[in-house]
């Protein structure tokens, strides 16, 4: 799966949790743009884990601040 496909998955899962989301600025902190609480965030990561089979340790959450960072992280860890 390439970065563009991963981006689509990320946005699809984000919109499943926050259907009101339209445009996401890729380099702006995600949680400033989308109303995600801790439970939403965890559900988002669970969904990404199910779709992409990529395990994201809690210690890596800080690397996932923006859409761009999430896509980069997942691309780097995709098999």
């Amino acid at each position: 799966m390439n970065a563009e496909e991963i981006r689509k998955v990320v946005l699809a899962e984000l919109r499943r949790i926050a259907p009101e989301v339209e445009d996401v600025q890729p380099t702006k902190p995600l949680r400033d743009q989308v109303d995600l609480d801790s439970m939403d965030w965890l559900n988002f990561l669970v969904a990404l884990n199910e779709r992409l089979k990529i395990e994201i340790p809690e210690a890596d959450y800080r690397k996932l601040g923006t859409l761009e960072q999430i896509v980069d992280y997942l691309s780097a860890n995709a098999r």
């Binding site: 919109r15 499943r16 259907p19 439970m39 965890l42 559900n43 884990n49 395990e55 809690e58 210690a59």
Partner: protein, 385 residues
């Protein structure tokens, strides 16, 4: 003969609309079985039956709106000879606006859905809850999902009809106005250092897959529930000018809904739940609350409420009690704060825990001791597992 009445599912509910029966005359039912789906201002609720018996007569028609306390059905108690079958009741003279069995817009109809179909629907962006099913018992199949995906382009979730939002606001307005009118609140707060809890939870989650991780919110719920064991005067109801202590510790969790409004259903017996199970129950409750799929016992049983607004960045919550409960606990943002220890000031992660107490049922002295107990429990997170 047992009369099954529409139960009150919270202080803000005066009436409910029957969406569907989940039983039919002649069915044997057990306590806890889902009996009917009733729409309240806040959610479509699976109403449970509280006695064993055999369904004799269904009185209320799907689509009818009835006041709380209305007899909806009659059951023969276990061992009771069933009476002659009643004559079928004519449909109401004035038909409800919608077809009687059709669920109102925005309320999931809840056909069975196979896991494969659900997965496929997610991939294709199809809202599986809204699909008619062609499989056994109306189950939604993979083919149904594919047909739906072809028929219409994937649609974003439509904004809820404004009357739904209005009903929700009205319900919240009624409950909160009653609270502020009737309940003499006292408010207390305490800053709780969370370094131990953070370290412990980080280590706890480190080796766990994402599906098994525990949120700080679950740890806080457990601390509140365990502390309540020693403060029964904060766990219960104020009814008819007297305090009624609750039998269990069923913590209502304030859950904000994306379309606006909030709901505070209960997790039962929180003090007895291991942390892993509590986290699963919390995740499940939030998911179902947001999908509009709660059980009547979850709506009617909270003995106290916990509200956590820390994710929204507030330092401290001044929570309003949900009547007839007598206390509510709030948690603010978990963040580094200055903390003095051994004559030195350092930064430690901390959270402000607050209590809104009903002064008719308890006093500030008790409330303060309760908050101190919550704070103390959070210093020994391993005991909350």
């Amino acid at each position: 003969m047992i009369e099954f009445k529409l139960p009150s599912l919270g202080a803000d509910m005066d009436e409910g609309k029957l969406i569907a029966w989940k039983v039919k005359p002649g069915d044997q039912v057990k306590r806890g079985d889902i009996f009917a789906v009733v729409e309240t201002p806040k959610a479509a609720v699976d109403v449970e039956i509280w006695q064993d018996g055999v369904v004799h007569e269904l009185i209320t028609q799907p689509g009818e709106t009835i006041p709380v306390g209305t007899v909806m059905a009659r059951l023969a108690a276990a061992g009771e000879a069933p009476a002659a079958a009643p004559a079928p009741r004519p449909a109401p003279a004035v038909a409800p606006a919608a077809a009687p069995v059709a669920a109102p817009a925005g309320v999931p109809t809840r056909h069975p859905v196979s896991p494969a179909a659900r997965k496929h629907a997610r991939e294709l962006g199809v809202d599986v809850e809204q699909l008619p099913g062609s499989g056994p018992h109306g189950a939604v199949t993979v083919e149904d999902v594919e047909q739906a995906a072809k028929a219409v382009p994937p649609k974003k979730v439509a904004p809820p009809p404004s009357d739904k939002t209005l009903a929700m606001r009205k319900a919240i307005a009624a409950a909160m106005s009653r609270s502020k009118r009737e309940i003499p609140h006292y408010y207390l707060s305490q800053t709780v250092p969370m370094q131990h809890a953070v370290n412990w939870l980080t280590a706890y989650n480190e080796k766990r897959p994402v599906t098994e991780r525990v949120l700080m919110g679950a740890l806080q719920l457990k601390a509140v529930a365990l502390a309540l064991r020693d403060f029964p005067d904060l766990n219960g109801f104020w009814n008819n000018d007297a305090f009624e202590p609750a039998k269990g510790i069923h913590v209502g969790v304030a859950i904000s809904l994306r379309q606006g409004g909030l709901i505070a259903p209960a997790i039962h017996d929180v003090a007895e739940l291991p942390l892993d199970e509590l986290m699963k129950a919390l995740a499940d409750l939030v998911r179902r609350a947001r999908a509009g799929s709660l059980r009547s016992s979850e709506m009617s049983d909270p003995t106290i409420t916990v509200t956590n607004l820390g994710d929204q960045g507030v330092d401290e919550v001044f929570p309003i009690i949900y009547p007839p409960q007598v206390a509510i606990v709030g948690f603010g943002r978990l963040a580094p704060r200055p903390w003095a220890q051994d004559g030195m000031i350092g930064a430690v992660p901390a959270v402000v825990a607050s209590l809104g107490g009903d002064h008719r049922a308890s006093d500030g002295h008790r409330g303060a001791r309760f908050l101190a107990a919550v704070a103390a429990l959070l210093q020994e997170p391993e005991k909350l597992a």
